[in-house]
């Protein structure tokens, strides 16, 4: 059965979506979505173990062999990203029921779960496929469903946020499509491995250069690399809390994955890093983004928006790691891609719990929550320590590898700025801690209780995972290093 796993991975949520629509009103849609998310996590786990044990898995859709048909190709990098998406999909879905019940009107809930399933389909599909055009198709599935999900936020500004994301996201995917079209024009193929084999022969043409430029701008929009991040803070702030948690942990990470995949296994390191030297501009944008966005996070009065700005900064870390284009840098980038997904997912879920109990994600709403929601706030602090990069948390591991890579390549400015941004992270995490633990709750407001167990348990799993993988790093770093080595040497 393992032979069919690649397609089943995408098929489970794809089937889940229409089943949710058919389930219509009632709680059935939720259970369908939950069952699909858990099944998808199971498949992702099996795929990763199988890839780590026996090497890449290839699956030909419709029985058509590779350059003609679409193939799914799963290596160490994308099985790792698949696991991240499936894991977050399952944990967010476990926590989502109460939060969604309170934020989404009853008559729209089954559509909400259907859109969640489609979003998972898209993200898993982007990650699993070995066909460049297929990437675009799944990119659109993921993007369209996330516009829907964001627009379902209960404030009217959610519509504006969704529209803003729609415009920017559409420009991003159109640019990626143009780039793929130009590649197709030059090589006559859409299969990634085939593209990589044929591109060096035409690498000197202006068409390929322009396709590279379109791709880099398009994918940077998608992953909200500074300064193309303008859509992200609004989208994460006004989306329903469960959606913020899922998208913040997975959507931009998958876009980063697309960038890694195109840079290293289509255009190839020789073209991207030696001929054009994209590392200069990527590294510079990443560093400016890390510092400015961490600073911007300090001034936010809404915790969701604070976390959103911190997300843009954290994307900077991942891109910084990629820009070094050596094993340590890439390992740091890839491991941070996973680690940041865990941390941000956990943090946004604690905020979802607060929104569920208090009804707002404003900093003022956090007053006194250290006393009335002790476990939730404790989990927030643990997640926050990860964002800062305190030793024994996953944040430290990623930064360790980034700093190692920076020192290896002699980028001392990068070392200084990464450390500076960790200090900025202390400030923005502290602001929440101060409100939660050192400010009394308004006497006039209603007393609030601890978050329900259904939300606490998934959040706790995510947050504890950030500690576990911070202490015992063999597994995450091992997979990330295998992926980095594969990208730099094993392939192309």
């Amino acid at each position: 059965m393992i032979a069919e796993h690649p397609v089943i991975q995408v098929l489970i949520p794809l089937l889940g979506a229409p089943l949710c629509v058919l389930a219509a009103r009632g709680v059935f849609a939720y259970w369908v979505a939950l069952a699909c998310s858990l099944a998808s996590l199971f498949v992702a786990t099996r795929l990763l173990t199988s890839v780590m044990a026996t090497g890449p898995i290839v699956y030909e859709l419709g029985g058509w062999a590779a350059p003609w048909g679409i193939e799914y190709r799963i290596g160490p990098l994308n099985s790792f990203v698949l696991l991240l998406v499936a894991l977050l999909g399952a944990l967010v879905m476990l926590a989502a029921k109460k939060s969604v019940d309170s934020e989404i009107p009853r008559e729209r809930r089954h559509f909400f779960y259907a859109a969640m399933m489609l979003c998972q389909t898209g993200l898993l599909g982007i990650t699993i496929t070995g066909d460049a055009f297929n990437v675009f198709v799944f990119l659109e599935i993921a993007a369209l469903s996330s516009y829907i999900l964001i627009a379902m936020g209960h404030q009217r500004r959610a519509l504006y946020a969704s529209y803003q994301y729609l415009i920017m996201g559409t420009i991003g995917s159109t640019f990626i499509l143009i780039s793929i079209g130009l590649l197709y024009q030059m090589t006559g193929t859409l299969n990634m491995a085939d593209l990589a084999a044929r591109l060096p022969a035409v690498g000197d043409t202006r068409t390929v250069l322009i396709s590279f430029a379109f791709f880099m701008v398009g994918v940077s929009l998608k992953m909200a690399l500074f300064p193309l991040h303008m859509w992200l803070p609004n989208a994460y702030t006004y989306a329903p809390s469960a959606v913020s948690a899922f998208l913040a942990a997975t959507a931009t990470k998958v876009a980063v994955y697309v960038m890694i995949r195109f840079l290293f296994s289509i255009y190839g390191p020789a073209f991207a890093f030696e001929k054009i030297d994209v590392s200069q501009i990527l590294g510079a944008l990443a560093l400016v983004g890390i510092v400015l966005m961490s600073a911007a996070a300090i001034f936010q009065t809404n915790v969701k928006r604070l976390l959103a700005y911190s997300s843009v900064a954290q994307i900077g870390y991942i891109v910084l790691g990629i820009s070094f284009a050596n094993v340590n840098g890439l390992t740091g980038g890839i491991v941070h891609l996973f680690n940041h997904g865990l941390m941000k997912g956990g943090l946004f879920l604690t905020v979802a719990a607060v929104v569920y109990r208090v009804g707002s994600s404003d900093l003022n709403a956090f007053r006194g929550l250290g006393r009335s929601m002790p476990i939730t706030m404790f989990l927030f602090v643990l997640g926050g320590l990860g964002m800062i990069g305190v030793p024994l948390t996953v944040g430290f591991i990623s930064k360790w590898y980034l700093i190692l890579a920076a020192i290896e390549t002699g980028h001392w400015l990068a070392v200084a700025l990464v450390l500076l941004s960790s200090l900025l992270a202390v400030i923005y995490v502290w602001r929440v801690v101060e409100f939660a633990y050192f400010q009394p709750r308004d006497r006039s407001s209603d007393p609030v209780g601890e978050a329900p167990l259904s939300m606490l348990v998934p959040t706790a799993i995510l947050v504890l995972a950030t500690i576990v993988f911070g202490v015992s790093t063999e597994w995450t770093v091992g997979v990330a290093r295998a992926a980095a080595v594969f990208l730099l040497g094993g392939h192309s």
Binding site: V7, L15, P18, L22, L61, G62, G63
Partner: protein, 140 residues
């Protein structure tokens, strides 16, 4: 539109032919121009024409929201279901050859016919749904 007798009469006259042409485009897609997407849009166009001339309210009596949602989902399920059937019959996902082991070409015929039917159903339902969504806003 109550006073436009000619429009009303012509619409009534044309509707069955539009629907029939949709089905022709759907099932003749193997041999000529056409296929699920085009057929779905033509089918939906018939319903939309009916809604434009005889008010959206009446159109929703013909094709209620509930039916639209069900067909939207059924189309995808049919498409994906064909893929699952090919897996169960021992082929890869959507490998239509597996549908008929004795005559792979017949299997390809059957497979593409069913898959395109799924596309047609979903496209028709989605286009109708988009029209309803706009029409509802104008009415309220």
């Amino acid at each position: 539109m109550r006073h436009h007798s000619i429009l009303r009469a012509v619409t009534k006259f044309f509707l069955p032919y539009i629907l029939l042409f949709a089905l022709y485009t759907q099932f003749h897609g193997d041999y000529g121009p056409g296929g699920g997407f085009q057929a779905g849009v033509i089918f939906a166009a018939a319903i939309i024409l009916y809604g434009l001339i005889f008010t959206p309210k009446l159109a929703r009596r013909v094709v209620p929201y509930r039916a639209v949602y069900i067909f939207m989902a059924l189309g995808i399920l049919l498409y994906a279901g064909v893929g699952i059937a090919t897996i169960l019959l021992g082929g890869n996902y959507l490998d239509y050859n597996a549908l008929n082991h004795h005559h792979p070409v017949h299997g390809q015929h059957l497979g593409i016919l069913l898959v395109e039917l799924g596309v047609g159903i979903t496209v028709a339902a989605v286009v109708i749904c988009i029209y309803y969504a706009f029409a509802d806003r104008l009415e309220s």
